[in-house]
């Protein structure tokens, strides 16, 4: 297979749109083509986005069947020479320390995942914000851990924040949300858990959202520095 041919087949290959015979020939070509590998990576990532956009929650029974089958499935050993790559991926941190940290947070994460109280149905208010025609979103990544998404619908004067993996707060405390504008911060709701969603109403002229740790019943003005602040999309 010569180079121009190969170039033309990269996209169909990334989309699994080659016939069996062409796929095999092309894979053979790939083992010798340095420039292909670089371009293919981006094409595979793009194709994967098409897959992510098609995500559907699988039937609950699938999980048990998969877990059951992996218990009976022997794993392939790593190919020789993989170790250096691994270290590359975890720069500057000893593997042991990383393992301990991960084990600790995995455990915490687990409690969250197995929590039977987690929301199972979408609150109509949340759905309204998500499907508003002017809904804009921002990724939330507090330096202190966890991640989430803030979706703002100015037409509804509302927003929804969803967070997961937040550090646990001391007992008797909660995360309090604040709408920040040129005036004093306005309380915008409490999150009592390390994960969950909160509808924020009456955004009005707020430009930022801030989050502090406060007493569980909430306070009328923040008493501690923010865990994070976030600019609201206009």
């Amino acid at each position: 297979m010569n180079a121009p041919d190969a170039h033309g087949l990269l996209a169909p290959y990334a989309l699994d749109a080659l016939t069996d015979i062409e796929r095999r020939r092309f894979e053979h070509h790939l083992t010798r083509c340095e420039t292909c590998a670089g371009e293919l990576r981006g094409l595979h990532e793009t194709a994967a986005m098409l897959g992510v956009a098609a995500a559907q929650r699988p039937p609950d029974a699938l999980r048990a069947r998969v877990m059951d089958e992996i218990d009976r499935t022997r794993q392939l050993p790593p190919r020789a020479g993989n170790h250096r790559r691994w270290r590359w991926n975890l720069p500057g941190i000893s593997l042991l320390l990383t393992a301990a940290m991960i084990a600790a947070v995995l455990f915490a994460g687990f409690t969250v995942l197995s929590d039977p109280e987690r929301p199972r149905r979408t609150d109509p208010q949340i759905s309204a914000v998500l499907s508003a025609p002017d809904a804009r979103s921002v990724e939330v990544r507090p330096a202190t851990g966890g991640s989430g998404t803030l979706v703002v619908a100015r037409s509804l004067n509302k927003a929804v924040i969803t967070m997961k993996g937040l550090p646990a707060v001391p007992s008797g405390h909660a995360y309090e949300l604040w709408l920040l504008s040129p005036d004093a911060p306005r309380p915008a709701g409490l999150m009592h858990d390390t994960h969950g969603s909160q509808v924020i109403s009456a955004i009005d002229d707020a430009t930022h959202l801030g989050v502090t740790v406060e007493r569980a019943e909430g306070v009328s003005a923040p008493t501690s520095p923010p865990i994070f602040t976030l600019r609201l999309p206009a």
Binding site: M49, L50, V66, R74, Q75, L90, V105, L106, P222, P225
Partner: protein, 199 residues
Amino acid sequence: MSEPFAEGARFTSGPTAEDLPEDLSTLVQYVACGDRRAFELVYEQVSGPVYGTILRVVRDPAQAEEVAQETLVQVWREASRFDPLRGSPMAWVLTLAHRRAVDRVRSAQAGAEREQRAYHLEREHDHVVEEVETRLDRERVRRCLGGLTELQRRSLTLAYYSGYTYPQVAGLLDVPLGTIKTRMRDALIRMRDCLGVDR
């Protein structure tokens, strides 16, 4: 603005130590060492995209579930073969899933016309966080697909979502083979740039 917000806002966009356990790439490396709990967390993150991708291609929910199970067990079995330098773990997993899905439909139908019936989007057990993330990804992809020409868009979606080979796509759209290859390539590259995918 009152004192607490005057300074010390620590919002960042960079990863931190606490993000590690949510980082799919790290989790997959723990799975490679036989960590069953890490696998459960991987399952949480990838099972929706895996099942959804396969369902789009094979259409039949019972078959989609079978193929999803095979794919997820393959992720467990071959976790040691995942190489973070060659791409993201989600792309690795979805490449396995999509490949299995098209293999299933092509072997099952062996050239026969595939049923093109629609399926219902049953989302009985929605999780809000998942829904928000999926919705946003879906929205971005939809917007970017909207920026393609009709021929680019159809050649991309017939290949990826319907699982057709490029000669089949060429036949369906009645355009020469060479044109289809070019359109697929243009479409993927435009999508890549529109979605801001890392190269």
